[in-house]
Amino acid sequence: MKDLAFYGFAAALLAGAVGTVVSRSLYRAAFSLAATLLATAGLYFLLTAAVLGAVQILLYTGGVLTLTVYAVALTDGERLAGPRWRRPLPAAVLAGGLAVALGSAALSVEPSVGLGGLEDGRALGVEVFTTYLVPFELLSVLLLGAIFGALVVARKEREP
């Protein structure tokens, strides 16, 4: 049963990935990515990391995609002038090479069934606020910086 879900999510994931990369329309690319991200969230649930799955849906899918759609809308929209790709062949070769290199490494791993036990939200919270407290605080600073940075960079020129 789990395996069926796994393969289902996997298929959706790959389809979305390919769709993102191939789409002529940016909106379609964005939503393909959304599909991929949701599929990943599903996989997280399967891997017993429920909290993470929720986070993935909220932040990644919700936040990132929304931002992207805004950006596309604020610029010149989905019209894609000219060809989609530049030099697809070298890119494909390199991507393929990467896939081979990584894949052979992946296949050399022992096929064990996972231990799981990643669903404990309480334990996760404790970890974040004890062992990983400093990174957490730094992350807050980073997010603050990102907010202000983005604001400053993208605001309209003020009329003198």
């Binding site: 990132v64 530049r86 894949g103 231990l115 036990g117 990643l118």
Partner: protein, 99 residues
């Protein structure tokens, strides 16, 4: 659902994303491809964490997602600015650092 298969899946997504980064012309298309790569990496980490029962992997990915969100926000803001200044959305046109 075993670890090697999970890893193969995530590396496949990673490779697709790499192709997108290298081959697409539009800036936002490239940004989306980068997202794919991030996501693939996160999946790989969570898979390994699941395989060994380590909660630390989840924490790491948690932080990674947050950082990624911030990065995307800033990146998109930069794109908006570049578009305003240059009038283009083609990555090839942003080449002032040429030798």
């Amino acid at each position: 659902m075993t670890l090697p298969r999970l890893l193969v899946l995530s590396f496949a997504m990673f490779a697709v994303g790499t192709f997108g980064v290298l081959a697409r012309r539009h800036v936002i298309a490239v940004l989306l491809s980068i997202e794919l790569m991030f996501n693939a990496a996160n999946l790989a980490i969570v898979s390994a964490a699941w395989a060994h029962g380590l909660l630390h992997g989840v924490v790491v990915v948690f932080f990674a997602i947050a950082v990624t969100v911030a990065e995307v926000a800033v990146g998109l803001a930069l794109f908006v600015l570049a578009h305003r200044l240059r009038g283009t959305n083609q990555l090839d046109d942003l080449n002032t650092l040429r030798g």
